[in-house]
């Protein structure tokens, strides 16, 4: 594309004043948006240390405006003084937390295993299943992304009841796997496409079998992509609410369902709600900060050539 030259020539070297104004604008905007991103998190964390008076009077800054108190955390049984005492709320919380961990890790792992295999097959070989060719199969997998949860939720509710998998973690794991599978396949296909085929050809000549070449040569190279896909899948599964709310009741309830059930009740304690919300978001916030590189890699897979 040719850039049209304009009649009036803009000065190439800008004056120091306009440069300065430019800087101020950029950093101002950055700080403003950082504030928008961080304030709700800051607010939630500080509120978990507030007492009723601090909430109603809108105190914002700990130690200056108000004296932090472990109230919210005590109600969850997680404050320093309550941690060694028995607490039913804490037991409940830990149960939900473990449910979330097991379902999201389980679903992400399962999706990575079957998704990577499928993506590898689709990038390297040609398949014919009846009249279905590679592109049709790929389309079939990726089109699952469009499927809204509501469409599956009710049939699954009925099916799971018939199969005896309602309110079980394995039931949730299967559904979550289905939910993240298209994304995993998308990312992994991009990853495998970037690995030169010559590597495997050499491995095959050296006497490795097809699966041997996959496990010993391709897998190690594709590992970063797998990590990226795994983390993105983790995020989606951990935060999932719709299926969990419909398909679990007592045993397999996950953290988001617990949080939502607390917000529903009237006259909630802000401090304990804030503590609960903080506990629910902390694991992913930590993962997000620590493994941000992989997350970005996963999200941009296939977006840019």
């Amino acid at each position: 594309m040719s850039v049209q030259t304009t009649d009036y020539a803009a000065s190439e070297i800008r004056s120091p004043a306009s440069f300065f104004a430019n800087r101020v604008f950029i950093y101002g905007a950055l700080v403003f948006w950082a504030f928008i991103c961080l304030f709700p998190i800051y607010w939630t964390i500080t509120t978990s240390f507030k007492t009723a008076v601090d909430v109603t009077q809108g105190h914002l800054i700990p130690f200056v405006d108000f004296r932090p108190d472990w109230k919210g955390w005590r109600s969850l049984g997680l404050s320093p003084d309550a941690i060694f005492r028995t607490s039913t709320v804490r037991d409940e919380f830990i149960k939900r937390f473990m449910n979330s961990v097991i379902t999201s890790v389980g679903a992400s792992s399962l999706a990575i295993v079957i998704g990577s295999l499928a993506a590898y097959g689709l990038t390297r070989y040609r398949y014919h299943f009846a009249w279905f060719k590679n592109e049709d199969i790929s389309f079939f997998f990726l089109s699952q992304l469009i499927l809204p949860p509501v469409v599956l939720a009710l049939p699954f509710l009925v099916l799971y009841r018939e199969v005896g998998m309602l309110d079980t973690r394995i039931g949730l794991i299967l559904l979550y796997t289905l939910m993240v599978l298209p994304i995993v396949i998308w990312i992994m296909r991009d990853q495998f496409n970037s690995i030169p085929v010559e590597l495997e050809e050499a491995a095959l000549v050296d006497g490795l079998s097809i699966w041997g070449a996959f496990f010993r040569i391709v897998m190690p190279i594709a590992l970063p992509g797998m990590v990226a896909a795994f983390i993105l899948a983790m995020v989606l599964c951990w935060n999932e609410y719709f299926f969990a709310a419909l398909l679990t009741s007592t045993d397999a309830k996950t953290i988001p369902v617990m949080v939502a059930s607390q917000t529903g009740s009237q006259g909630i304690n802000w401090w304990s709600m804030a503590a609960l919300a903080t506990a629910a978001i902390t694991p992913l916030a930590v993962i997000g900060i620590a493994l941000e590189r992989y997350l970005i890699m996963g999200m941009t897979a296939g977006a840019v050539k």
Partner: protein
């Protein structure tokens, strides 16, 4: 513009990938033809697959007979059928390797995902279409009754469903605003700044947080009418009565804002990747030609970013069409259904009224609308990108 106006969504992309794949004959290992497999092994493989299929069918048949009370031998639940399906899948894989050798080994890559997805999608969807044609309320004792298209006619006359669909249009349109903000943020992050990594992490953070927790953090406490800081701020700015969720219009906007807060980072990251992949030379050339920043943006950056933008917007719209959790937890559709998305409406149809048959009909209708809409969107976007370039 050097044109690879590839919308990487779906069909385009899959076709491209298929072009790149090697013909199988290029593989040295393919030299082992299938006739090296002994007839005995082939027979064994076929027998295994046949036996597995018969076994699966037998389990299903026994179970159907038991459930329809023709037979007294059977299982309490349908779970054995699930196990039978898994075993059948394994037998199928082994059979493929036995009968077809290397080709079978290749098929093994695809089989698990394929069998899994087919079992999890095709069957429930078909079953869903059947439920949609029944009158089935879990709270009534009469059980499931086939009632043809009654649910469909009821749906056409349902003002709340129409309202939910209309809301979805509004919510999808809000994606454009999100796009503008996300593009602005991506440009900021792409500028010559210090602490870029810090800002990137911070901007990404909202995406990590569970929407349900966010609904409480922002929707129920920050925007709370009495003590929420957002309400206090709004009062100070001169809005006398900052009730974010009591009037239909502000409630809708509040939901959009909440959803945007969590999902803007998603588009931002994709756009940022696009900006970083752009060649410096083009921008330099524009500057040498005397274009100012504004002209450079509109005549160089924006057109070059179009394919990435379209991909980001389409993916975002697909996610938006699933919007439910924020609405369920913050407003439960209120006031008077003004903020309902289709998903949240169906959720309440089931949860509050146990109306499985009707709810499923609504869901299936929504599925068809979505498929038509997204197909149109992909076609339209494809043509749009091609025309502009």
């Amino acid at each position: 513009m050097t044109g690879k106006p590839v919308i990487k969504a779906f069909s385009e992309r899959t076709r491209r990938v298929a072009d790149q794949t090697l013909p199988t004959s290029a593989w040295p290992a393919n030299a082992a033809p299938s006739d090296l497999i002994s007839p005995g092994r082939k027979r064994l493989g076929r027998a295994l697959m046949a036996a597995a299929t018969l076994g699966l069918l037998a389990v299903i048949a026994v179970q159907i007979l038991y459930k329809t009370e023709v037979d007294t031998i059977g299982f309490e639940t349908w779970r054995p059928v699930v196990y039978a399906y898994v075993l059948w899948g394994i037998a199928l894989g082994v059979g493929q390797v036995l009968t077809r050798g290397e080709d079978g080994q290749r098929a093994l890559f695809l089989l698990p995902a394929l069998l899994f997805t087919i079992a999890m999608v095709i069957f429930p969807t078909l079953f869903g279409f059947y439920i949609a044609l029944t009158d089935w309320n879990l709270s009534s004792f009469s059980g499931r009754k086939f009632n043809g298209l009654d649910n469909f006619w009821q749906m056409l006359a349902d003002p709340y469903y129409r309202n939910a669909l209309f809301n979805m249009v509004l919510y999808v349109l809000a994606v454009l605003v999100e796009y503008v903000i996300a593009f602005g943020l991506a440009l900021l992050l792409n500028a010559q700044i210090r602490a870029r990594k810090f800002f990137r992490v911070v901007f990404l953070l909202p995406l990590m947080l569970s929407p349900v927790a966010v609904s409480w953090m922002i929707g129920k406490s920050l925007m709370e009418y009495r003590f929420g800081p957002a309400a206090t701020l709004a009062r100070q700015l001169g809005w006398e009565n900052p009730a974010f969720f009591s009037n239909p219009i502000t409630a809708r906007i509040s939901i959009m804002v909440l959803d945007a807060w969590t999902f803007i980072p998603f588009m931002m990251i994709m756009l940022l990747a696009g900006l970083q992949a752009m060649s410096r030379e083009v921008l330099e050339a524009a500057r040498v030609d005397g274009a100012n920043a504004w002209q450079t943006f509109w005549q160089v950056t924006f057109p070059l970013m179009l394919p990435v933008s379209v991909t980001a917007i389409i993916l975002r719209i697909i996610f938006k069409l699933k919007l439910a959790d924020i609405i369920i937890t913050v407003t439960s559709g209120g006031p008077g259904g003004a903020t309902d998305s289709v998903s949240s409406f169906i959720y309440r149809e089931y949860r509050d009224r146990s109306n499985v048959g009707y709810g499923t009909m609504l869901a299936m209708a929504y599925l068809i609308i979505i498929i038509v809409f997204v197909t149109w969107l992909l076609k339209f976007a494809n043509r749009f990108v091609r025309n502009v370039n």
